[in-house]
């Protein structure tokens, strides 16, 4: 598994379940999640062979405004 950490800007926070369902579908394991207002910080363990799919598919979710992958190993700390 590969640790991936994302800062995700949301249009509405109620898109959160869709994001978590997507992570699970792609075989990821959520290690930490923090969401408040329009910002979500997400840290997951992703299977090596499908790790490249997480960022682009997260960006594809309608109501996700922006996805930034941050250096792995720790939560970005939120805003």
């Amino acid at each position: 598994m590969e640790r991936l950490t994302f800062d995700i800007e949301l249009r509405r926070i109620n898109v959160l379940p869709r994001i978590l369902m997507l992570v699970a579908r792609l075989g990821g394991v959520v290690r930490a999640v923090h969401a408040e207002g329009h910002v979500m910080n997400l840290s997951i363990d992703a299977p090596i062979e499908s790790a490249h799919r997480f960022g682009p598919q997260l960006r594809r979710v309608i109501e996700v405004l922006n996805v930034t992958e941050v250096p792995s190993g720790a939560m970005s700390g939120g805003k």
Binding site: R11, P17, R18, H52, I62, V64
Partner: protein
């Protein structure tokens, strides 16, 4: 703006979006909407099941480019949408479903016919909305229509509680040119396009794969022009059928697990592969590690998540296929890149399709029947298929003059899609003949829609290839499960022509190989809907075929496509 109900607001928004037809089925929690619809300028099509309403709207949308719309009630009405939504999602069809819902105060109380449709729809739609107040409705409708139609199209669901349907508002529906965060029309990266062009210029054996993106970007004309200038051999995915000019001498046919021999061989040999508006589906690539093993890969798609999802491209271009090709034509200018020798070599390889007599063992061979049928029908008809052998046999043979004319559930592989999608296409194209090629299994999932067809009296011609089996599963059982035919026998099929006649449709039964041409002619030339029940050989298989887990270079074929069972 004058006060209007939520139902009227939705109907007005649909009308403003150019919608003229609404498919669907009423019920308790959508009754206010249906009542308003009686006074609105729409044709309502009552299908006999909500799933079939989605397939019909899907066929309407794929064949026309317009929004397909479905309306149904809450609970079981809405849960019946799920397979249709999944089908539309996998093949990027722009469908909008409006589902009735219990009034907002009742949501979460396990009220009669309440279901969490928003949650159900979330994983099978491009986007879903649950409208919780009248204030939200104008923006939701504007965004729902925009999202369904723009960028990579797809299905959207709006769950509409009863109290929102009857509530009133004076608010207008906004006109949108974008939705926050949604990049629906990305600009072409000229550097990436330049690298792609250089690869093409330097290629000795380039091949193009074109997919469903050609249909949705309305790019057939520019794509055909690009083919003429590059003289590149072209193969298509299932959804790309009809994209190339059917008379193009470099058209290799469909590739993939049931692709034509020459198409798969060209992909295996090519040194540059240009993938346009396609998503590298596993039925296209076979074993990914051995897909196009000698090629530099250029991938153009409007959905960034498709670039590198399965096959890592050497050049990725995130753009609408038509926009990218127009820019590519500018690069080509009046300096065509001709690959004539390679084109002739690639197109000269055999297709691998069976030949020989139409009769065998006293039965009609479905492959040869379809050869006769498609020769008769020509290239201008709309053709819908179901899923399974009937679908692959059709896809291997069809050459159509538009990418909007082939309707088939590719990604989801949904049995029962053929008949309702053909009805949708017939409604979108009045007066044009629409052919539905279906198997006996899939047809039985949708045959109540013969009643819808009778009511509409549109010229849909149904050809049932009845081999008394769930044929594709039987084929796999024969090849990979020791010929143990578990659950695939359909020897008790009814007389489909008799059933059709009970409903009031014109119907014929074709049993004798020698009667094929005459009966096909009678059936096709009948003025109005007509059904042809073809009693087919039970043992004919789809070849060529690539077994699961191997590459496109390991195709199987038999001399006549038939293995005795």
């Amino acid at each position: 703006m004058a006060e209007r109900t939520g139902s009227r607001l939705v109907l007005d928004a649909l009308h403003d979006a150019g919608v003229d037809t609404i498919f669907g089925y009423p019920g308790g929690q959508i009754m206010p909407f249906f009542d308003e619809m009686m006074d609105a300028p729409f044709r309502h099509v009552l299908t006999r099941h909500e799933q079939m309403a989605v397939h019909a709207a899907d066929g309407y949308a794929r064949s026309s480019g317009r929004l397909g719309v479905v309306v149904c009630t809450s609970g079981p009405g809405a849960t019946n949408l799920v397979t249709g939504l999944c089908t539309a999602m996998m093949d990027s069809a722009p469908v909008l479903c409006i589902s009735g819902q219990v009034p907002v105060p009742f949501i979460g109380t396990d009220a009669f016919q309440e279901a969490d449709v928003y949650a159900l729809a979330t994983s099978v739609t491009k986007h879903a909305f649950l409208v919780r107040s009248m204030q939200e409705l104008p923006e939701v409708m504007a965004e729902a229509i925009f999202i369904a139609l723009n960028g990579r199209p797809g299905p959207v669901l709006v769950d509409l509680p009863r109290d929102v349907q009857i509530g009133t508002t004076a608010a207008a529906v906004p006109v949108l040119s974008s939705v926050p965060g949604y990049q629906h029309n990305p600009p072409v990266d000229s550097d990436a396009l330049g690298r792609a062009h250089e690869l093409l210029v330097g290629a000795k054996k380039p091949v193009c794969i074109v997919g469903g993106g050609c249909r949705y970007s309305q790019a057939a004309d520019v794509f055909r022009r690009w083919c003429e200038l590059t003289r590149i051999p072209v193969t298509t995915t299932l959804q790309g059928i009809g994209a190339p000019d059917p008379d193009y001498d470099g058209l290799l046919g469909m590739l993939g697990v049931h692709g034509l021999w020459r198409a798969n061989e060209a992909v295996c040999k090519c040194d540059v592969l240009i993938a346009l508006g396609m998503r590298m589906d596993d039925r296209v690539t076979g074993k990914v590690d051995s897909f196009a093993p000698h090629a530099k890969i250029i991938h153009v798609d409007i959905d960034a998540a498709e670039l590198g999802k399965i096959v890592k491209p050497d050049v990725a271009i995130h753009a609408d296929m038509g926009v990218a090709l127009r820019a590519w034509l500018d690069l080509l200018g009046d300096r065509p890149i001709r690959h004539d020798a390679w084109l002739a070599e690639a197109a000269g390889v055999r297709d691998g399709l069976p030949t020989g007599d139409i009769g065998r063992d006293g039965y009609i061979r479905p492959t040869r029947l379809l050869d006769e049928l498609f020769t008769m029908v020509g290239r201008t008809a709309y053709v819908a298929t179901d899923v399974g052998q009937n679908q692959m046999w059709s896809a291997q043979r069809l050459r159509l003059d538009s990418p909007r004319k082939f309707l088939s559930s590719g990604g989801a592989g949904t049995m029962g899609y053929g008949l309702p999608s053909a009805i949708g296409a017939a409604l979108a194209h009045p007066g044009e003949r629409v052919l539905a090629v279906v198997g006996d299994g899939g047809f039985q999932m949708a045959m109540a829609e013969m009643i819808t067809l009778k009511r509409l009296n549109v010229p849909v011609k149904i050809a049932i290839l009845d081999n008394k089996y769930l044929g594709m599963v039987r084929q796999w059982q024969q090849l990979y499960f020791g010929a143990r035919y578990s659950g695939t026998d359909m020897s008790d099929n009814p007389d489909f022509a008799a059933l059709a006649r009970v409903i009031g449709l014109h119907a014929l039964t074709l049993k004798e190989p020698a009667d094929t041409r005459d009966m096909l002619k009678q059936w096709w030339q009948h003025d109005g809907p007509s059904l042809l029940h073809c009693i087919c050989h039970p043992g004919e298989n789809v070849f060529p075929m690539v077994s699961p887990g191997v590459g496109l270079d390991e195709m199987m074929e038999t001399e006549n496509g038939t293995i005795d069972i």
